[in-house]
Symmetry: D3
Subunit: 66 residues, 6 copies
């Protein structure tokens, strides 16, 4: 009965991409650890780029520099 | 000083229901473990059904099948 | 299908107390929001008092002051 | 490669304040633990006051009482 | 720069299985969302069966019933 | 009433370093956002290097390569 939380920046992931991610992670847990998909939760959080920092600066600023 | 995080799908929980949940969990922690309500945090996250997976599929898809 | 994470300091909660907490929170979610207990997860994290801070100091230090 | 998650109530923190928080926490981790800023993540979650409880009541209610 | 947290019950996952899980999830994020593996974190938490509840009871109790 | 969760690899952070981190983050939240230290929680999780992945491999493996 695994719980998986995936946090990514909110930059346009589609419903279809999120569905594929959920299916893929659930399958990995079944294949590698024998976990039952019916009690596997996968929750995706999409985080505003102003609220995600790496290297001491926000992703918003980082994207502008590139 | 407990910290409680409740994650549910975003499907119309009202402010009143959320308030009752917060009151109830805080009381449980006081009754069972003697925790001080004044330093008990309860945070509710409401997650889009596209972003919550169970059984390898999103709750959005699961709801449509029923 | 709620996910609940309860974080408390590691100060001797018994298996029986943790079981009561799990039962109580699961019941609250059923009573208030109609959530199915069979897909309700409750995970308790017990955190070392050296690793929990409040008021800018660790709980270890705070306990010694009392 | 630390991961830091800061959860605050959604009450008007500006992009500039969030950027300062990210910079400050990243610097602390470098200064105190020698952590590399390039692999330090800081994620800020802003939570609706209806969804944050303390003392058994929501922050929304608490703010009204003051 | 995704952050993934996988929580499973502590029931003997090996280092090799955990390494495969980390590799697999990182690859999924690259394949589906184009995320850079060098800034993809995957953290696995192994939780004591006394501390994980489902269906209102601990996994410890649930395992004994089977 | 902020909640901060800092996750680092378990590689020997001392109680004194953790106390400084807690004090520093609490002060930042007071200085930048005016948050009350008495209701600021900081929780540090120290994660086994086998359980932390970056770049698709565990930190254990990564440390060996260097």
């Amino acid at each position: 009965m695994p719980y998986v939380n995936i946090r990514i920046t909110k930059e346009g992931a589609t419903s279809e991409q999120k569905a594929r991610l959920i299916a893929g992670v659930t399958e990995l847990l079944k294949d590698i650890l024998g976990k039952n998909p019916q009690t596997t939760f996968v929750i995706i959080d999409e985080v505003d780029t102003d609220n995600w920092g790496i290297g001491g600066e926000t992703v918003t600023v980082r994207r502008q520099k590139r």
